[in-house]
Amino acid sequence: MSSYLIRNAQILGGAAQDIFISDGVIREIGTDLTGEADVDIDAHGLIALPGLVDLHTHLREPGREDAETVLTGTQAAAKGGFTAVHAMANTFPVADTAGVVEQVWRLGQAAGYCDVQPVGAVTVGLEGKKLAELGAMHDSAAAVRVFSDDGKCVDDAVIMRRALEYVKAFDGVVAQHAQEPRLTEGAQMNEGQVSGELGLGGWPAVAEEAIIARDVLLAAHVGSRLHVCHVSTAGSVEIIRWAKAKGWPVTAEVTPHHLLLTDELVRSYDAVYKVNPPLRTAEDVHALRMALADGTIDAVATDHAPHPMEDKECEWAAAAMGMVGLETALSVVQQAMVETGLLNWEGVADRMSHRPARIGRLAGHGRPVSVGEPANLVLFDPGYRGTVIPESFATRSRNTPYRGLELPGRVHATFLRGVPTVLAGELVEPGELA
């Protein structure tokens, strides 16, 4: 394993320092380090952050390898500065058994670009009827701690209560996709001014908020950890803020796209803007930014959802929901949170690495950038300005809402336990991951 001397990196945006890495561990931090390294990296002007952790991705394997594979998905993750991603359970077959979660975990290990932590389904087949074997998934090689029926809501209050209670036995957490199903039948976009004008079925904010309100009460009642996926409305933020003020064990995430985009974009009927939960209003975007800034929302999670071209290049109602997000996440957060003065780089490290790692109970990730810690690092160039070119992505899919948009910042290098997965902005070849 090579050793690396990273020169003049601004750790969490602080003063420039050198970082010496060998055998997968941060060995030394200081100015003008003199140790001998196999590779020197000039990190002048670059910010060093702990490797990013994503609580919410769809890697599509097994089943939809036309959209993404664990290999291409983790390559995209590495290019985005991530060293660990959670892979949601809505694959084919569904990740509702120890066998499937172990398969996904092993695919991640084999790919080598990023740790893949499978999320187990809460219920068999994501059908919301019968608990999946949560204990078996936890006891498997994948050691699952986050359980979610993401894409579908665990809408039955009794099933949700039991799941929350049951996972306490192994310090698990239920990550809820909050969507009241009856209120969202035929839903195509945020219900509001724009949906009314466009004649598209509405997805009302209350359908998210009603489930979150119920779930925080359930979590408090049974004393279990609840995590709320992709919070998208100002009302949801208020409920979570209230639950946290009560001291209840509730955490929440927001996607980069909900921090930047609004439902006005749907006026184009371009299905690249179709996502679940839907893009909301400018007031919601503002509330989400404030909540991420003050810690009410704990984490940024991409909800990276690759889809093949044909599932987006069609009429709105027929299109699939979701956006790719791994390779643009940090840039969007820089634009929405850092350049607006809402979050400094220390805050970014907290919301994109420390806290998500803690929620997922991921050992070795989300650690401080300090001596003796595993060398999971990203070097980010915040001064870079470039246009988003989907064709340059590592993900197999191209369904990004940022095509042609100028976004700040670029990942220069990513290290996974001391091994570079990205250098000078380019993926390291699979054979060289050692």
């Binding site: 004008e197 184009s268 009927y269 371009d270 009429e315 109602a317």
Partner: protein
């Protein structure tokens, strides 16, 4: 203007030009030979993904009166029903040299998607998309209103009060009408139970009322929208009879209208639901007239989009062919 996707695409001048052109073209229907050579050699495709007898027939008659080559491409029985995408259908029509595509689609936004894509180079004419818009219906409605309420070329509908009653939430007719009527200066009031009004309606350029009776006395044209019986099952209203009592137009209610006011309906009517037979068959009801006007309006749309002509270029004398 290349496409007609939304009534919002039309400026006041555009709208008046269309109405005036339709007025000129309407004279044709009085002749023994109802044909103009304007679109000879041009191909117009009627691409209907949703069943429609009236609109499709109306477009077809309009196209034929302008001598276009008409191709009917029904989604049923074609490759579309075997899973062909909108894109591939469009590319196919492009390859066949369609100069215009008249599209009816069950998905809101499908015509907008076609118009913005580079799949087709011809004009896209929206013949009704989902619960979004139906601009030629709004044009024929405005044409009918103008004839009754402010007749004359170049006239608009300034100050005329139009009441639209029924399932606004699911109505593409209501959406296109409110846009076009505002462009033409009319004042629009929607009357419906609150369940059948879209969220955000308070920001639309119209008044909203839950009470039909109080609105009728201040109405120059009342437009009754069809209410589908299946809405009842989704709890939009309790029963057919209750809907009819509160929001249906019967003889007593019609008597509250000012003397000059007209009763309109885009069809198909559900007699006994939103409109009684007494009203539907009364001389104030313009349903049949609207159908005839639909042909003139669709001719005007095709004429102006495909011919690229202005009203001044409209042939005022009969060409040899139409005489022959």
């Amino acid at each position: 203007m290349r496409h007609l996707v939304s009534a919002a695409d039309l400026s006041r001048d555009d709208a008046l030009l269309l109405l005036d052109t339709a007025e000129e073209l309407a004279q044709l229907s009085g002749r023994a030979v109802k044909k103009l050579p304007t679109l000879r050699g041009r191909t117009v495709v009627n691409l209907f993904f949703e069943d429609s007898t009236r609109t499709k027939t109306s477009f077809e008659v309009a196209e034929k009166r302008l001598s276009a080559d008409v191709v009917n491409f029904a989604a049923k029985g074609s490759s579309v029903s075997k899973g062909e995408s909108l894109k591939d259908t469009a590319l196919t029509l492009q390859a066949m040299g369609a100069d215009a595509v008249v599209i009816r689609h069950h998905a809101s936004g499908a015509p907008a998607r076609l118009a913005q894509s580079d799949w087709l180079h011809g004009s896209v004419i929206n013949a009704g998309d989902g619960t979004h818009e139906h601009p030629t219906q709004a044009l024929l409605d405005a044409f009918t209103m103008r004839r009754h309420l402010n007749p004359g070329l170049g006239h608009d509908l300034a100050g005329r009060r139009v009441t639209i009653v029924g399932d606004i939430l699911h109505s593409r007719v209501a959406r296109s009408n409110v846009l076009l009527l505002n462009t033409l200066g009319a004042e629009v009031t929607f009357v419906a139970p609150p369940t059948l009004l879209p969220i955000g309606i308070e920001n639309w350029p119209c008044e909203v009322s839950y009470d039909l009776d109080s609105t009728l006395a201040k109405t120059d044209a009342v437009m009754m929208l069809r209410v589908q019986r299946e809405r009842m099952n989704a709890a939009f209203f309790p029963t057919e009879r209750e809907y009819s009592r509160r929001y249906g137009l019967n003889g007593n209610r019609m008597a509250r209208l000012p003397e000059h006011a007209i009763v309109m309906h885009p069809g198909p009517m559900v007699r006994g639901m939103e409109i009684t037979a007494e009203v539907a068959d009364s001389p104030r009801c313009t349903v049949v007239e609207q159908v005839a006007n639909g042909v003139s309006i669709r001719m005007a749309v095709l004429y102006l989009l495909l011919g690229g002509a202005t009203l001044a270029d409209t042939p005022r004398t009969e060409s040899p062919e139409t005489v022959a």
